[in-house]
């Protein structure tokens, strides 16, 4: 009896953790500072683009999807170019890293 309760408790705990972890993975906002190594955008009418950032802390390459109009426009007229350092916030949506904040770090 006692053992069963314990097993149940552990199982429940496990389930709760696993559940909350998947929730986290979907909704947590991630942040990074990195340099753009590549911008892919399909012409002046594009409504989406991808940028590859090299994370300054981990040196890993992270592919980010950008959908917001203001940032896309900055890709199109080259106010943001490869080599720029970016502060980025993004969320994982259907396995893609979708940006909701994409700004150059310095301005002077």
């Amino acid at each position: 009896m006692k053992k069963r309760t314990l097993v149940l408790a552990v199982a429940t705990l496990f389930a709760v953790c696993a559940f909350s972890m998947t929730v986290l993975a979907q909704s947590a906002e991630m942040k990074l500072v990195g340099v753009i190594t590549k911008i892919k955008i399909a012409g002046p009418a594009a409504t989406t683009a991808t940028a590859i950032l090299k994370d300054t802390k981990t040196e890993k390459l992270v592919e980010i999807v950008i959908n917001d109009e203001l940032t896309l426009d900055k890709f199109k007229d080259h106010r943001i170019v490869e080599g720029d350092e970016i502060r980025c916030k993004y969320k994982s949506v259907d396995g893609k890293n979708v940006s909701n904040y994409f700004r150059k770090t310095a301005g002077c």
Partner: protein
């Protein structure tokens, strides 16, 4: 009321014809045929425009300033020569140049305040004459097809630092009234980074006017390239023209008289711009190293629309002391109104001998982090020999006139409650008055009626 209705209708009608109809510019065929050779091409049909631009704040970064304490009436002031802790440098001490090489990477880069200028640096801030006229970058403000890879500093054959421009025919063919984006090329970077100075994120989500498709120049209506401004205590230079909310809306814009009664003592912005944002503090005595090994001043950044403004009486005169630059005014001077401000604090070096703020040339600290070398370089440019740098803080009040909301405008019980949006006591109301102003009696009948209407 009728006249105002007409004005609003006109304002809205002009919106319909405003944005980006580049192909309709009547000069197109001519530019297509002979190419773009700079301002002289435009001058064929728009004579005098280049010369007229040279006398504006956008070219001079300075003007006579009459509402700020302690200035010399004979001189002109602006970002050209101002020293304060949002930038701690200006066009003079921070003239565009190549910085010393970084010892770790052996690399250099260009920096300078006068990159926010529509010239080519050879003809710089405040220059005059035919060469200056010909150096103007008309297209940075007028083209919707500007290629910004060309608007970067470089060294020419003689070793002079030049600010590049897009002078392609393609860009000249896309000429029109300036869009918000053209203005934002510089204004979103004011203070040295995106939305740094006041969190000026002018988007549909943040501003009722942007949501209606209005652009900067719908309110800042230029006359012969002179642009109207307001009375931000830290934007001194002006073209002598002013813009205010009431120009378009009148002093009593509300159907509800209870709001209109407040406009004698409260600026429109106080209720309609309940949030502010941007940098809270910067420390110019401590520069932080970035991934590229160059250094930037330590900066504490808040998002747009994320912080509470500070409310103060303002009579449109500016108190200007070494440790405070902000609104002058009081409840009883008869002219002041309560305005919202974005408050910012900056740390930098002051001269112990004179008590004045010292400025900094960014080139040395950007390369090596050596802030005192930056102070020394600026002092040498300005001919200051005898000084003793000592760190200290300065408080700046910035005006808050964009990101207007109707939905989230402050309403009765957000102010007339204990601990509400305004601190009545700090604003000079007596204890008895505060008790009355924070008593629900001020609004309870009205709000009950409103609730009945709405539900």
């Amino acid at each position: 009321m009728k006249i105002r209705g007409l004005l609003m209708a006109l304002a809205l009608a002009s919106l319909a014809t405003a944005p980006g109809l580049a192909e309709e510019h009547p000069g197109r065929a001519s530019i297509e045929a002979s190419g773009y050779n700079g301002p002289s091409t435009c001058e064929e049909c728009h004579p005098g425009k280049a010369k007229e631009l040279l006398s504006t704040v956008h070219w001079k970064h300075a003007s006579p300033v009459t509402n700020v304490d302690g200035l010399d009436a004979e001189k002109e002031y602006g970002m050209f020569n101002r020293i304060y802790t949002m930038c701690n440098g200006n066009d003079v001490v921070n003239n565009l140049k190549e910085i010393p090489v970084n010892p770790e990477t052996g690399k250099s880069k260009f920096t300078g305040c006068n990159t926010c200028h529509p010239g080519n640096h050879l003809s710089d801030v405040g220059s005059t004459g035919p060469e200056a006229e010909n150096a103007i970058d008309c297209l940075v403000c007028h083209s919707s097809a500007y290629d910004f890879t060309k608007r970067v500093p470089f060294k020419d054959g003689k070793g002079q630092v030049v600010m590049g421009q897009d002078r392609s025919t393609a860009a000249a063919l896309a000429v029109g009234r300036p869009a918000a984006k053209n203005c934002m090329v510089c204004h979103e970077r004011a203070g040295g980074g995106i939305y740094v100075k006041r969190g000026f994120e002018f988007t549909r989500e943040n501003d009722v006017h942007a949501a209606m498709g209005m652009t900067c120049v719908d309110c800042h209506k230029a006359q012969n390239h002179k642009l109207p401004t307001g009375f931000d205590p830290n934007t001194w230079a002006n073209d002598g023209l002013r813009v205010a909310c009431s120009d378009c809306h009148g002093a009593e814009p509300h159907a509800d008289q209870d709001y209109n009664r407040h406009t004698a003592k409260l600026a429109c912005q106080t209720c309609h711009i309940p949030r502010t944002g941007g940098t809270m503090a910067k420390d110019f005595t401590r520069w932080e190293q970035g991934a590229d090994k160059f250094y930037e001043p330590g900066t504490i950044q808040a998002e747009a629309n994320s912080t509470k403004p500070v409310y103060a009486w303002y009579n449109l005169r500016v108190r200007n002391t070494p440790h405070f630059i902000g609104p002058d005014g009081s409840r009883n001077d008869g002219t002041s109104k309560i305005y919202p401000f974005k408050v910012y604090q900056g740390k930098a070096f002051f001269d112990k001998k004179s008590g004045q703020l010292l400025s900094m040339d960014f080139a040395p600290p950007m390369a090596t982090g050596d802030v005192l070398a930056g102070v020394a370089s600026a002092a040498s440019t300005l001919g200051i020999k005898d000084y003793e740098p000592t760190p200290g803080w300065q408080t700046l009040y910035f005006g808050s006139s964009h990101l207007v909301t109707k939905e989230n405008a402050l309403t009765c019980f957000q102010c007339h409650t204990v601990g509400g949006a305004l601190n009545f006591k700090d604003l000079g109301y007596s204890d008895a008055e505060v008790a009355k102003l924070t008593n629900p009696e001020t609004y309870v009948t009205k709000v009950l009626e409103k609730q009945k209407e709405e539900w």
